[in-house]
């Protein structure tokens, strides 16, 4: 026992180093689990306040661009409102399911922290649990898909950006209807790859890519981007498709968090079904 203690004491620096690195490894692993509850990120109140302050300073340099974006968005929303009110009129006569009319509701939020150059990029927004935001919700902007909510605090939420090598989004080619998975390759923040589109499909440059709605996170048909490059390597079962993102992540200012009212129902129905099959 005495010798053991002396041994530990002699190498105390190494052991402290070892224990600290183990602690780090544990933190990295738990942090990577999707939708974990966390306090030590920018949804933490102190960190978010500081990030918000830093953002406010930076915002002055991009006010003009933000104004243009908001004006665009206003115009588009006015259009949408018009269309929707007509559709509601049509639906009112047919369906008895009131939630068919509004499967999703939108919560506007401002981006206070964002990065695009790392492999795992996250976005912090200024809405949180008190604005009924929960982990797993989708986030869109006026241009297209942005990401999903990873963790929330009372007033802030951290999102996994589409520009995160861990993030997969189920996506379809609008023209052909085939679906695959959109995933970022970690290099250029303007492009994302569309994977698992089989050989027999013929995607063309210029095709639009939208979310498929299979995973119920994103509403169906949210624009992801436009195909810029299609290559089909010999022997490969799938195309290599390079998609230019519709949303320029370097100038993300305002986003909408999507609340899916029927998500719980869809998930539990699916789980029940797969449970029965097993």
């Amino acid at each position: 026992m005495d010798r053991l203690l002396r041994f530990l004491y002699t190498y105390r620096v190494f052991f402290t180093f070892f224990v600290l690195e183990l602690l780090c490894a544990w933190m990295i692993v738990t942090n990577n689990q999707y939708q974990s509850t966390e306090y030590f990120n920018t949804s933490n109140r102190w960190a978010a306040n500081l990030a918000g302050f830093s953002h406010n300073v930076r915002e002055y340099f991009s006010l003009r661009a933000i104004n243009e974006d908001l004006a665009d968005e206003n115009a588009r929303l006015r259009d949408l409102l018009e269309q929707e009110s007509q559709r509601v009129f049509v639906l009112r006569s047919g369906s008895r399911d009131s939630s068919a009319l509004q499967r999703y509701s939108y919560i506007g939020a401002k981006v206070i922290n964002n990065s695009t150059q790392r492999y795992k990029n996250f976005i912090t927004i200024n809405r949180g649990r008190l604005d009924s935001i929960a982990p797993g919700m989708a986030v869109v902007s006026k241009d297209g898909a942005v990401g999903k909510v990873k963790s929330v605090s009372d007033h802030y939420a951290v999102l996994i950006s589409l520009l995160n090598i861990d993030d997969n989004v189920s996506a379809t080619i609008t023209r052909t209807g085939h679906f695959g998975t959109a995933q970022w390759d970690g290099t250029d923040p303007r492009y994302i790859s569309l994977k698992y589109i089989p050989r027999h499909v013929k995607p063309l440059v210029g095709d639009t890519i939208r979310t498929s709605g299979f995973n119920a996170v994103f509403p169906e048909g949210v624009l992801i981007g436009v195909v810029r490059e299609v290559t089909l390597p010999e022997q490969a079962p799938f195309h290599d498709i390079k998609v230019e993102l519709a949303q320029d992540f370097d100038r993300l200012a305002y986003v909408s968090v999507v609340r899916s009212h029927l998500r719980l129902e869809k998930d539990s129905l699916e789980r029940l079904t797969t449970g029965l099959v097993k």
Partner: protein
């Protein structure tokens, strides 16, 4: 002793705030990042107790991680650098040894020595950072590009900063 301790504590927060408020937004050509806060670990006095060096580095990395939403990654890299720092310092001891109470900085040992000292440590730190973030060596060459860009950027800033603060004091 207590005065230098207070100064170190102030320096700790100064480096931290500088990093998360300002330098976090400073990325050149999408590849060169600036992790200037590592300078705090590199420039701590030579006779800093190795245990407190590890703990201080852990705290520094942890706080930076909170702001980078990358819990554990900066912490792991910082603790690694803090651990190998003393071995590297012993390996490159200049002729006649170090002065008592000195910091491993340009003012004490000269520019050439400082680059030999800081370059490999920064490289280790940045390599750990980017490879852990990419979760492996899948993006090897792209990560290498980021590492080399960031090492050069950070080192340049560290050298410039030392010359600035050094002339002020004289």
């Amino acid at each position: 002793m207590t005065r230098s301790l207070t100064l170190q504590i102030i320096a700790f927060f100064a480096y931290l705030l500088l990093q998360v408020l300002l330098l976090k937004n400073l990325v050149l050509f999408n590849v060169a990042f600036c992790f200037f806060y590592v300078a705090f670990i590199l420039l701590l006095p030579l006779e800093t107790n190795p245990l407190s060096l590890l703990v201080v580095s852990f705290l520094m990395g942890f706080f930076v991680d909170v702001f980078y939403d990358s819990l554990g990654i900066h912490t792991a890299a910082c603790v690694g650098v803090a651990y190998i720092r003393k071995y590297w310092l012993a390996a490159i001891t200049p002729q006649g040894g170090y002065d008592a109470g000195a910091s491993p900085a340009i003012a004490a040992s000269g520019l050439q020595w400082f680059i030999v000292y800081a370059l490999p440590l920064l490289f280790v730190h940045h390599a750990a950072l980017f490879f852990i973030e990419a979760a492996g060596f899948g993006l090897f060459w792209h990560s290498m590009l980021k590492i080399i860009g960031s090492v050069l950027f950070t080192l340049t800033l560290m050298v410039l900063f030392q010359y600035l603060s050094w002339t002020n004091r004289r």
